[in-house]
Amino acid sequence: MFDSEIWQITALSIQVSVIATIISLLIGLPFGTWLALGNFRGRSFILSIINTGMALPPVVVGLVVAIMLWRSGPLGNLRLIYTPVAIIIAQTIIAAPVVTGLTAAALEALDPRLQQQLLGLGASRGQMVWNLWREARLPLLAALMAGFGSVISEVGASMMVGGNIRGQTRVLTTAIVLETSKGEFGQALALSTLLLVLTYLINLALTWIQQRGRKVDHSANTMLQSAPRK
């Protein structure tokens, strides 16, 4: 495998996983917020579906997306099968429930009176939600990291809907599977190391952002906010 090919595979891996994570965030953040703050019939049922979705096996997602995008499938005329877009679709389906579920959990962990306090200070709904996000920024960034982690490391869906085509849809995980199947363990180990370093660097950046605002010991704040509820 040539150096240029490795860089092309690495760049494609980053590209599809970052795009899928961003789309998952755009879906999961508002949806998770709606679930956490809403009080409507069927909320627990939807949450249970989302929580199940957090454990969706990538191969099952890959199978369903492949059936949908197959040339004879319902969306076959879009000609997306074996393209990077197909991988992004599959990875978004994997990451969106993770981001949604962890967003809902992060906001539900806040003191429920905080909503009333913000409204009581004159916040509009939008201002209230923004401040709740700000307050839950550490677990929300953890949700983002979990979403990214779930897609950068998956292989089943990328293989099934991307096809592992050299120069077009080959990503790091599918390349590792291919090299292993050929007995090229050295290549496979090198690619695995690259994947690990890449994942580490992206999570390092997100962790830095996450921890930047966390300069103080929060134990005192926890004490203040845990006064008895009436």
């Binding site: 306090q117 009581g120 200070l121 004159g122 203040l224 906010q225 006064a227």
Partner: protein, 238 residues
């Protein structure tokens, strides 16, 4: 300022508060007393339009609260809870929060923070983060965050209940001075009749989800409206 008629507020599917009639005058401090779970906080939440009536109405300056623009109305009031509920930011940012919601100009925000930080003796805390404050300091910041809005109505829900007695006494003293100096309309929930007497013009007694009596401390002590009020007064520490 407020006229409440025939009001019923429900929480979790049951009646949590019934108020047949209650008027609150502009500039008045009304204390609301009663046992735990009596419905005192429910009255405050209803006045803040954070709970809607199941029956009856609250008239504010001649117009039903439900017919008023929710956000516009809420920006005339401020609410202080028992827990300080400060955001994970600096004291200064916390105090500025409500003003920022109202898009108040920066200079005005700074001027108001300066004024109220001095009044509530939190000037030295402004750059500290909320998580670094003691309970008493945090409650002062919570009060400053409400006073800085200079609202038409302040709603205070047992803001000192979680504090130790000396801190509590000092804060009540300070609040008493502020409310008198400021002539601001306030509704103040407390368990403590002495606090209520010190801070308010009139006292409302709520027992078992019903507003039983409204009057001065003397009227309530000498002529309790019914057996429920009498029993509540007898249970209070002398």
């Amino acid at each position: 300022m407020f006229q409440i008629h025939d009001l019923i507020i429900q929480r979790n599917g049951r009646d949590a508060l019934r108020v047949d009639s209650l008027d609150i005058q502009r500039g008045e401090t009304l204390a609301v007393v009663g046992p735990n779970g009596a419905g005192k906080s429910t009255l405050l939440l209803a006045l803040a339009r954070l709970l809607n009536p199941a029956r009856g109405e609250i008239i504010y300056d001649g117009k039903s609260l439900m017919q008023r623009n929710e956000l516009e109305y809420r920006r005339k009031i401020s609410f202080v809870f028992q827990a300080p509920l400060l955001m994970d930011m600096t004291v200064e940012q916390n105090v500025a929060l409500g003003l920022k919601f109202r898009s108040t100009p920066k200079e005005e925000i700074q001027a108001r923070i300066g004024k109220w930080a001095k009044q509530l003796d939190i000037e030295s805390l402004l750059k500290r983060r909320a998580g670094q404050l003691s309970g008493g300091e945090a409650q002062r910041v919570s009060l400053a965050r409400a006073f800085v809005l200079e609202p038409e109505l302040m709603l205070l829900d047992e803001p000192f209940a979680a504090l130790d007695p000396p801190t509590r006494a000092k804060l009540i003293e300070d609040l008493s001075v502020l409310l008198k100096e400021d002539s601001r309309t306030a509704v103040f929930v407390t368990h403590n009749l002495n606090e209520a007497t010190k801070l308010s013009h009139r006292i409302a007694v709520i027992v078992d989800g019903v507003l039983r009596q409204v009057g001065t401390a003397k009227q309530i002590k000498t002529k309790p409206a019914d057996e429920n009020v009498k029993a509540f007064l007898q249970e209070l520490p002398q």
